[in-house]
Amino acid sequence: MPTRLEMGSAGKLGDAGRSMRRAPSAAVAAGLATVAQPVAVSRDELRSLVEAVIGSLEGDLTGSDLKLYTELEALARFIQTAKQEIAAVRPDTIRTEDIPAAADELDAVVGATEEATNLIMDTCEQLQALAGGLDEQARTQIESACIRIFEACNFQDITGQRISKVVRTLKHIEERVAAMLDAFGDEIARLQAQQPTAPASVPPVKSANADSALLHGPQLPEDAKRQDEIDAILASFG
């Protein structure tokens, strides 16, 4: 004859249910309804009820599932942190300000070296013309020196090609940053609004505008003032 157990309330059984942190199945709910009031439950009925609860969990949450969910959660946190750090370095300004500014500076380097190289070659040609009026030994020496200067001017072509490669690389980076921003949609802008300053682990990117705080370093040609303009400004102070 089965021993009858007194069940005072559903709370006793509910402890097990809460530890499983899931909604009961219909069978379990029916069982819970049965024990919702103080009733006598037979051992067989209780066994049946527990088996129903365990059975309802089968296939839902195994140990490997739990490990997988934990890993996924860690991954999600990592991605979120990465997004925040990306937002902190302000990739939009890298694309719209920093990279174009760097490309402009490099273009200016090429332009300046080309200008200087042509001036050097102009001067060499003047020397060669002047050497025509000298005796043969002096003329030969000057011709030889001028040729060495012309040979050295090769550097400008090589430098220009190398800088062009750097500019192409910057352009590629700019495109990848743009693609990344497109992939994130509005999320980067939202994160930037939430976290306007970079975290300590991510150094802030120097803005092109930061140059305004520096007195050293050449300006781009279109921004630069000529010496006579500077003199005029100074003269205007009287």
Binding site: N118, M121, C124, E125, N154, D157, I158
Partner: protein
């Protein structure tokens, strides 16, 4: 047979500075009859308009590279006999092989000097 120092030479480069350097080095070697082209297409047109004794071309040009120009020259029955010296900063083995397979006469790596240019021209035309 002595080389004709008055033969027309076409130099091709999209960098004006480089054209000027090569022109001056050729002048130093005694070659004054030099024409210039700033890209492969205009070089090809000049070659078809006037007989040249030598082409000295940069490799790195757009849209037609020096290699493409070389292939066009070698594919043209009237031009394919013209000696073609490639001047380039690209000294990778595969590039040299590609140029050789396309029929390049000689190959100069930048930066170069008047002596190197002379050596390559001697290799093409004999001593001068």
């Amino acid at each position: 047979m002595a080389v004709d120092k008055n033969m027309p030479i076409l130099i091709v480069d999209d960098y004006k500075t480089m054209l000027r350097i090569i022109r001056n080095l050729l002048k130093q070697l005694g070659f004054d009859n030099v024409d210039e082209a700033s890209d492969g297409s205009s070089a090809l047109q000049r070659l078809r308009d006037k007989p040249f004794g030598l082409v000295i071309s940069d490799w790195n040009m757009e849209p037609m590279t020096g290699l493409q120009l070389l292939k066009e020259v070698r594919a043209d029955a009237k031009l394919k006999h013209i000696p073609f010296i490639m001047v380039t900063a690209e000294s990778k083995t595969e590039n040299v092989i590609a140029a050789k397979e396309a029929g390049v006469t000689n190959y100069i790596v930048k930066p170069f000097n008047a002596e190197t240019l002379k050596q390559k021209m001697v290799a093409v035309f004999g001593n001068f």
